[in-house]
């Protein structure tokens, strides 16, 4: 038995459809170390989200399985917190209450009410959202909503933070801000992160490891690229960095040459 922190071994999954079973993933193997930042990249429909959902416990793999600290993942849980693409905040709760829902659920037995309050505020501070703690999601911008979504996930003190295209719906500038925030948080807390992205620059900038997936059906891990850039990373400095551009080119070659998508 391997001792890696998070391990996907021989994961494949089939979904029943009207035309018989559809094999979305085939033999996905992946090992992720603690505190590692891993990006999953690939064309849409290649099963990136499915991988994430299996790790989250939302789907159950047809064969193979996921081990987190050598324990099998069977169901969703707060130790594998998810940041959803469209933030998924409860629209009738303020940002504070949204984080509170998670904190109350996870720390009901281990923290007092005052400690829970401090913890909520601490997490809102991490994402720079304390000023809007009494605002409803409809009253803040898309980037802010996603920050709160991240705060809610971080507040669960997850072993693994799962992010499903967290910045996909944001404009480029907001996205850059949030990427920087995420790098800071990752540097501070050292979470293990799995992030799905479409954005090559984002993947190279943030990750320790980029997992490139082949196209579905029966998608699998095509290649893994280790990003050995020093941290902290600065997007401006890296823009002219040869190594950064090399990694970038590698990912682009994988996506647009070796695994070109037929008929997009």
């Amino acid at each position: 038995m391997s001792s890696s922190f998070l391990q996907l071994s021989q994961v494949s999954i089939e979904f029943p459809t009207d035309h018989g079973p559809y094999k979305a993933l085939d033999d996905v193997n992946l090992e992720i170390a603690e505190k590692e930042f891993v990006s999953l990249i690939g064309h849409s429909g290649c099963g990136k989200s499915t991988v994430l959902n299996i790790v989250a416990g939302m789907y159950k793999a047809t064969t193979g399985g996921v081990l987190l600290e050598n324990r099998e993942v069977n169901e969703p849980g707060p130790e594998r917190a998810v940041v959803f693409q469209n933030h998924s905040l409860l629209p009738w709760l303020t940002t504070y209450q949204n984080v509170e829902l998670a904190v109350d659920q996870v720390f009901k037995k281990t923290k007092t009410k005052a400690e829970r309050h401090d913890w909520i505020m601490h997490n809102l501070e991490l994402v720079h959202m304390t000023h809007a703690k009494d605002k409803l999601p409809s009253e803040i911008s898309g980037g802010m909503k996603q920050r709160v979504g991240i705060a809610r996930a971080l507040a669960m003190e997850p072993k693994v933070l799962l992010m499903d295209e967290p910045f996909g719906a944001l404009d480029a500038l907001t996205r850059a801000h949030l990427q920087d925030s995420l790098m800071e948080i990752h540097a501070d807390l050292g979470n293990t992160v799995i992030m799905i992205t479409h954005d090559v620059d984002e993947a190279v900038l943030l990750s320790d490891k980029i997992v490139m997936m082949t196209n579905g059906p029966a998608a699998t891990v095509g290649d893994i690229l280790e990003i050995e850039l020093d941290r902290p990373r600065n997007r401006l400095e890296l823009a002219d960095n040869e190594q950064f551009n090399h990694y970038r080119a590698e990912v682009l070659r994988f996506l647009h040459d070796r695994h070109k998508r037929e008929a997009a």
Binding site: A56, G57, M58, E75, P76, G77, P78, R80, A81, V82, F84, N86, S88, L90, P91, W92, L93, L101, A102, Q105, V106, L136, S138, E139, I140, S141, M144, M156
Partner: protein
Amino acid sequence: MKYFMRDELFKGDIMLFKFQLKSFLAKSSLVKSEGEGLMSTISPITLPKDLGNKIIKTFVVPFVAFLLFLGIWGATASQIVTSLGEVPGPQQVWEQSVSLYNEHKEERVKEEKFYERQEKRNAKKLEKNPDAVVKIRSYTGKETFFDQMLTSLYTVLTGFIVASLIAIPVGIVSGLSSTVHRALNPIIQIFKPVSPLAWLPIVTMIVSAVYVSNDPMFSKSFITSAITVTLCCMWPTIINTSIGVSSIDSDLINVSRVLRLSWFTKVYKIVLPSSVPMIFAGLRLSLGIGWMVLIAAEMLAQNPGLGKFVWDEFQNGSSNSLARIMVAVFAIGIIGFMLDRTMLYFQQKVSWDRNAVIR
């Protein structure tokens, strides 16, 4: 020819540009945005001219339309002569509403006097003999139009509340489980269109058979009417609650799965708040139907409310009867309208969806 066309095109462009400029200026002067580019409120500053338009639209137009309606009614009503005389116009209806109000006041005075007399009589009795058993009777004068309104309101609210207490839980369960939904849906669809007049005989017989008591807390007619209201008005709430619950954003359900919320917490913290706008939309429909149904139910069940008032006036057949029934028609309409506005108020209060237009 070519040049001409280009010229025309050019003109068109200028016109377009002018138009865009105009609308841009109009927007920038009328619209101010708050906050740092958020989805904040963009509120137009109302100019005096707009304000005038607004007053005309909100007050003058409906008022003129109502006057027009009264005019047409007044002109046509007197053309039709029934066995009870001419069909009353607005004038007669107004007179009758005043007289109904006076009757109400007279009745109240009578009631007061009755209690005064009773008190005096009892006081005298006690003066003579301190151990005397004093009889206190409640006044049994005839119910006035306004008493009947209150009875109707009380009855419809009872039926409505019972219906809601049944419909909301049933709707939640049927929204959460597709099996329950499949089981209940045919029953709901079959009973939904049934008229109160069809329910009433059944309800009457069952109430007579089951509700047997020497000292009944409620009169049978009240229970029959309220149950009929319940039977007719619970369907929209069931259907809306079920739709609201089943159409909850799957991401929110995923949030509850990640948090490992218990079934009860999930329903209480996520499912219910998320479907509350739909539930209230259903409740509003239900109350509307309940009020409509109540009048028919009261007519047949002889519950002393507005329905009975209409029926009694119809049986009475005096020359004022039609006008008095029309007063009841207006009262029913106005109360129904107010009930609807009340529900609308609650509906807007509980709605978390700021983009939804509720009216």
